[in-house]
């Protein structure tokens, strides 16, 4: 989230799209109610009428996977209005804070010219040469080439208009299946937040990310928000409502193939030396007004290496850089889908699962279960006997034929240990141990520590390849590590004074500071554990920042990009809900995104507000993406219809894998759209709820939701049993026939959609079929996040 939960209350309008906050974040959704009490409108966009829709002011159905078309139509509506009524919009914001005015390489062409593709596409590689997607070279003084009147045909704004000109309301509704009048009402309602001082927020989640073009969907949200001046302001932002208690923290600490703690890049084979790596990844800007925050990259990287290798990390040995593994393949090949493809192929021999249950949660689990079966050994650390650990017990297999050796280690639950977790709003909060774990169960911290100590012992005794990477690793946590000590290490130290580092601004690239994660630098200072603070006062301007409650990254900034919340004089666009305010020569309010003075007041010292981009401006034109600088509507990999907008049916840049279990269904055999989702009552792969009697009572069984129309067609009765089948597999569940699902009219064709919760599996108190038996093994072109949300199925009575 660019903003945070409490801040939703400041919004004038909220769109929940690709998310179902009321069901999946029920308690924090109280802030949606709070906004509604102030008169804010809630818009729910979902293929299925949910509990969020139930309290929404406007509900609009939308076929799964058509977000780019849906938002593209709103963007077109806004752009058209900007022509006619620019006074209704914050044109200063668009011109000064975004790259709308930047001039693009004249060679650039887009889908309007190239039948759905951008210039530079290589169909054989399914990838783009992005050289035409660049800004024109800057002026000599470093100032970008731009046209602040937004009229130059090569400027981003004009490209944008051309791009979205095709997304008229009729076309959009033919693609999405939304009712036109409702859709227009949404355009009108949400566009109203473009007025200076009005704010709208977009709340999204896995309904957006889990598509082959999910990243572009999110970009369409971000672009809409930038056009409406809704980023950086209170009650605005684009807010990813994250699904696990610490998925934000685990992402920040980068338990991901492509990054190291603090979103530093995982080195590739060509980053042969630390210097080469830093050269590649540290962005440069010739523009004196650009803060270009990532220029500090070397400080963060060296401090990380110092935290990991301590005294063994010296200038002479590149601070231990060579101890780190390097990758060869494109990074996405190491990500989830690629990982399981390799496991299926037999490359991966051993797997450790830390509170994760791939046999239920992975895409195409029929294939991924088979892959797990191929392992030599598996270590599962969990509270429960997960489906993954019990892979050899799964229905239809003979345990004696399954060779994988399994270690199942009992872990402590959240309140049986101490430590911090980071919520969706980036608040890192400390929690305490309330009770001893049952029996021999132990904290994961204890388990990791024991394992590493044992491995250090083994490598010290027996050595092995790159053994020093292990033996030299700073590992001084004793027999039973304290979370407190680790939290200090994450924050980092000034190694000269031995004091905790005050903030990442103090980190250095010369080896005199350490920080396990620069983003968390300032979370634990000499003043104490900031994450454990419990002062609930709302803080400056009474907009619910709660600056003294726990701690949030970066540097306790509660709303990021907040320097875009003020005009060029430092005065808030919305004086009722100011985030920061330049008064008496300083910023009041939230921790500003850099303390430089406002742009109009001190042109010498000022910096652009979007400090994380080398150009200092938010990117409406995003040249970093794999599949185009603008979002373009493509159909899901499996779709019941042809792409109405172009001859390019699918996102052209996502990777298609080729194992014999990576099957694709065709629309003749599988004509119905299928989607998966979560319930209020259950959580993720289900072990954490399917073993709690009170929860099982509420939602005892796997079910399938379908429309009354489809049920009538197929002779399915409410409460009966139904089978859903895709090219990959089939599942059975209770039929929940509901008026909350309605067939879509897609370009004159009736398209049905069904939905299933994905919480069930074959172990635990409540068992049932896993919806992921159905899902395909393809993922997003940029992130490789799997397509869980739109695929094709058929439905019949069991």
């Amino acid at each position: 989230m660019t903003n945070h939960w409490n801040d939703i209350a400041n919004a004038d309008c909220m769109i929940a799209i690709g998310s179902n906050p009321v069901e999946n974040h029920p308690a924090a959704s109280g802030w949606i109610t709070a906004a509604k009490e102030r008169g804010a409108k809630l818009i729910s966009v979902d293929p299925r009428f949910t509990r969020t829709s139930a309290i929404a002011d406007i509900y609009c159905k939308m076929r799964s996977g058509t977000d780019v078309a849906f938002i593209g139509g709103i963007i077109k509506y806004v752009l058209d209005e900007m022509d006619q009524y620019p006074e209704k919009y914050n044109m200063v914001y668009v011109t000064e804070y975004t790259n709308a005015s930047f001039l693009i390489n004249p060679d650039f062409e887009g889908p309007a010219d190239l039948d759905g593709l951008f210039s530079g596409y290589d169909p054989a590689k399914r990838s783009y040469d992005k050289s035409s997607w660049q800004y024109q070279s800057p002026e000599e003084d470093g100032t970008p080439k731009w046209d602040k009147s937004l009229k130059d045909p090569n400027c981003v704004f004009q490209h944008l208009k051309k791009h979205f000109a095709r997304y008229d309301v009729d076309t959009v509704c033919k693609i999405t299946g939304s009712p036109k009048d409702t859709y227009l009402e949404i355009c009108k309602t949400y566009a109203a937040t473009g007025a200076p001082g009005k704010t709208g927020t977009i709340l999204y989640a896995m309904g957006t990310t889990q598509h082959t073009n999910g990243t572009q969907m999110i970009r369409s949200y971000a672009m809409l928000q930038l056009l409406l001046g809704n980023i950086g302001v209170a009650g605005g932002g684009i807010n990813a409502l994250r699904g696990e208690s610490n998925v934000q923290g685990s992402t920040d600490h980068c338990l991901l193939c492509h990054i190291l703690p603090g979103y530093l890049k995982q080195p590739t084979n060509k980053d042969e030396t630390l210097e080469k790596l830093l050269e590649r990844v540290t962005p440069k800007s010739g523009d004196p007004k650009s803060a270009n925050w990532w220029q500090h990259y070397p400080k963060y990287m060296v401090s990380l290496l110092k935290a990991w290798y301590g005294d063994a990390a010296t200038k002479g040995n590149e601070f231990g850089y060579q101890y780190l593994p390097k990758t060869t393949k494109p990074y996405n090949d190491y990500s989830w889908i690629g990982l399981f493809e390799e496991m299926y192929a037999g490359t991966i021999k051993g797997l450790m699962c830390w509170g994760q249950n791939p046999a239920v949660c992975g895409p195409n689990v029929k294939m991924e279960r088979k892959a797990i079966e191929n392992l030599d050994w598996l270590v599962a650390v969990d509270l429960w006997e997960t489906e993954t650990a019990a892979i050899w017990k799964r229905p239809g297999v003979d345990p004696s034929t399954i060779g994988v050796e399994v270690f199942l280690l009992p872990a402590a639950a959240s309140y049986e240990k101490e430590g911090s977790i980071t919520n969706s709003g980036r608040w890192a909060q400390w929690r305490y141990k309330a009770i001893e774990p049952p029996g021999q169960a132990k904290e994961d911290l204890w388990i990791i520590n024991k394992l590493v100590l044992k491995l250090q012992e083994l490598y010290a005794r027996e050595s092995g390849p790159n053994a020093e990477a292990i033996t030299k690793l700073t590992w001084d946590y004793g027999d039973s590590p304290s979370a407190d000590k680790v939290a200090r290490e994450i924050n980092g130290y000034n190694l000269t004074t031995g004091k905790l580092a005050a903030s990442f601004g103090k980190l250095k690239d010369d080896g005199t500071t350490s920080s396990g994660n620069w983003l968390y630098c300032a979370s634990y200072t000499e003043a104490g554990n900031m994450m454990a603070r419990r002062d609930p006062s709302p803080g400056a301007f009474n907009i619910g920042l709660h600056p003294k409650w726990a701690w949030c990254w970066p540097v306790n900034r509660r709303i990021i990009y907040n320097r875009a919340s003020v005009d060029l004089d430092g005065v808030p666009w919305d004086k009722e809900h100011p985030v920061i305010w330049w008064r008496n020569g300083k910023w009041d309010g939230d921790v500003p995104d850099g303390g430089w003075p406002p742009m109009a007041l001190d042109p010498e010292k000022t910096k652009y507000p979007f400090i994380m981009k080398p150009e200092g401006h938010a990117r409406i034109f995003g040249m970093g993406r794999a599949d185009g600088p603008f979002p373009e509507h493509y159909e899901p990999w499996e779709s019941p219809v042809d792409n109405l907008l172009s001859g390019t049916q699918n996102d052209p840049a996502f990777k298609i894998w080729g194992s014999e279990m990576d099957l694709k269904g065709d629309r003749d055999r599988y004509p119905i759209v299928c989607t998966t989702y979560r319930l209020t009552e259950h959580w993720q792969a289900g072990q954490m709820t399917r073993n709690l009697p009170w929860i099982v009572e509420l939602m005892p069984e796997m079910f399938v939701e379908l429309s009354q129309e489809l049920a009538a067609e197929k002779g399915i009765v409410n409460g009966g049993r139904v089978i859903v089948e895709t090219a990959r597999g089939k599942v059975e569940g209770v039929a929940l026939v509901t008026a909350r699902f309605k067939p879509f009219q897609i370009n004159g064709q009736t398209v049905h959609q069904v939905g299933l919760p994905w919480h069930w599996g074959y172990t635990g108190s409540s068992t049932g079929d896993s919806a992921n038996m159905l899902t395909p093994h393809v993922g997003d072109a940029n992130t490789m996040i799997p397509e869980f949300k739109a695929f094709l199925c058929d439905v019949r009575r069991a």
Partner: protein
């Protein structure tokens, strides 16, 4: 005495206004150090915690009695949930305890299933750690890539993968990533991808 021992789960600060927006509420400030505060009776421990389900970050208070009885309710001082709890949050105590006893589904010992085995065997921690460390070392060393096909030094193993972390604390995630990268793992993934 049962009557008073219930007081730990404090009344909502919001009162009749219920879920009033902070603009009108006027938060009372509480001391910054009150995290482990106010055991009302010596038989009670009272601890603040954060919900382990979705990423709202709701605050809870866990209260344990001398006989081990556990109850967990929303923390009324917490700015996000203000004492509230959804069905999952309200069930938190059952992660540990069902009807006053340890949840029978909880794992309480390291378990081992040999290749082809039909059942779990109980292991001691020492045995489990020894054996797992041995598997990791053997697999790592036997599947070591010192340099890749393009001639670059890469020092990695593709023989081992690790998944998971969103259910762990930050400190655990950090130690885990530190250990995994030191071991040379490149197949490191977790819930954030899916």
């Amino acid at each position: 005495m049962k009557l008073t021992r219930r007081q730990f789960l404090k009344a909502g600060t919001a009162g009749v206004g219920g879920f009033t927006v902070f603009h009108t509420l006027g938060w009372r400030s509480s001391p910054g150090t009150s995290h482990k505060a106010s055991a009302l009776k010596n038989k009670i421990s009272e601890t603040t915690t954060i919900c382990p389900y979705d990423a709202s970050g709701c605050g809870f208070i866990a209260a344990v009695e001398a006989d081990g009885m556990l109850k967990i309710e929303g923390d009324p001082d917490h700015p996000i949930n203000r004492g509230a709890a959804c069905a999952k949050g309200a069930s938190l105590a059952q992660l540990h305890q069902v009807d006053g006893k340890i949840n029978p589904r909880r794992l309480q010992n390291p378990l081992y299933r040999p290749p082809g085995g039909r059942d779990w065997e109980v292991l001691s921690w020492d045995e489990a750690i020894d054996r797992i460390a041995r598997r990791i070392k053997d697999t790592r060393d036997n599947n070591w890539t010192a340099s890749d096909g393009e001639g670059y030094v890469v020092n990695r193993t593709e023989g081992i993968a690790s998944v998971g972390g969103a259910a762990l604390d930050n400190e655990e995630c950090y130690l885990l990533v530190k250990a995994l990268r030191a071991l040379g793992l490149v197949y490191v993934e977790h819930q954030a991808r899916i």
